[in-house]
Subunit: 208 residues, 2 copies
DNA sequence: GCTTGATTTGACCATTCGGTCAAAGCAACG
DNA sequence: CGTTGCTTTGACCGAATGGTCAAATCAAGC
């Protein structure tokens, strides 16, 4: 079943349906909160049929997480050392916000995993993730040293971008509760706000 | 058992032990992920004994959430319309960050609840919480209109403060994984970074 | 249309979990 | 020291849950 080369149309279709359903259920209920019956129902399959495609509940979860980190890091990878510093960071913020808007379930799945202490992707965090962040932090530090952006801690800069963009996906319920029904879609104004926020932080001024 | 006036020393002690244990377990495992056995063990009690003090697992969870929102909002309540605008916001940020540092389990409990769609405190969000935020948003808007701080969307300003401060508690594992073992305590540098960030956003300049 | 392998399912199982209960233990007070 | 009411627990229960399996169904090539 894990041999990608040997997949019938039905297999591809059903595996996808299961992953979709699993994403929806895991994102809202967490790993332990999700049940195979819920996932099976959401996928339009019976429970044994679901287990014909994936050996266990955990396998579905792992399959989902596997692709996730990569997609999640793509926007950061695209941060170009040779580009315009402020523009590069702002573009990163924008891409990350779009990810939250377009893939809120993925964001919540990730949030759940981290909240639980990252039992399944812990290693990837201190490996892959840390390496990429270290690399980009060096780039940002270089920009600051050259006076092209203000002096900031690159790690906290990145954390703050993550925190604020993911907030709109993960805490969606709270955001909507506070904004009320009038302002149904917070993303346009959030984009503008974040743009202002990071622009004013990074734009270098009164160079000493 | 819910009559606070009639509490023996033993009752007060054990109820507190249960709430402590519940906080630890719920914060890490989420509501469905937590089991009564885990909580009982963490509290040093037997499961039936635990249910002698609280009628159900849900009752423990509710008791925990009950006090939480209030504590969580106190720092925002303290935002003083008559104080120095930039100073007031920065003080709010600092208090909120201290809350994350000193009560990370409470923060994660809250995060879990929101991620799950706020099934238990949803009403409080669109009630109490929204009212307070609306009130403070008006204050901030007033400051901006008077030219005492830069023009910003007060709601997104508040969201960003929440997001960034809670990030250090909720995504603690990720923060530590990225920073590595050298920078064990991120809070001092996070405080400095957030101070810079919001100061540069809010400080009014080139008044038109 | 028949064979073969892929797909689907009803029935079932072991374990876990929230919760109950009756009985035992214990502290305090007269 | 005996009574009374608070506290603790071992044994148990029913429901839910992850997972199994053998048998039934179906799709596709010959």
């Amino acid at each position: 079943m894990d041999n990608t080369a040997t997949r019938t149309r039905i297999q591809t279709k059903n595996r996808q349906a299961i992953l979709d359903a699993g994403l929806a259920v895991f994102a809202q209920q967490g790993f332990r909160g999700a049940t195979l019956d819920q996932i099976a129902k959401a996928a339009g399959l019976s429970k044994p049929n679901l287990l014909y495609y994936f050996p266990s509940k955990e396998a579905i979860h792992v399959a989902l997480l596997a692709g996730l980190l990569d997609t999640w890091l793509d926007p950061l990878r695209a941060l170009d050392a040779d580009g315009d510093p402020v523009g590069e960071v702002l573009a990163y913020v924008r891409r990350k916000l779009e990810l939250s808007r377009d893939f809120p379930r993925e964001s919540r799945l990730f949030a759940n995993e981290i909240l639980q202490g990252a039992p399944r992707i812990g290693p990837a965090l201190s490996g892959e993730l840390k390496e990429l962040v270290d690399e980009k932090a060096t780039v940002i530090r270089g920009w600051a040293a050259a006076g092209r952006i203000a002096e900031v801690d690159p790690y906290h800069l990145i954390f703050s971008i993550w925190a604020m963009t993911q907030h709109y996906a993960d805490f969606d319920v709270q955001v909507h509760a506070v904004l009320g029904p009038e302002r149904a879609d917070p993303y346009p104004s959030a984009g503008a706000y974040l743009d202002t926020l990071f622009r004013s932080l990074l734009t270098p001024r009164n160079v000493t």
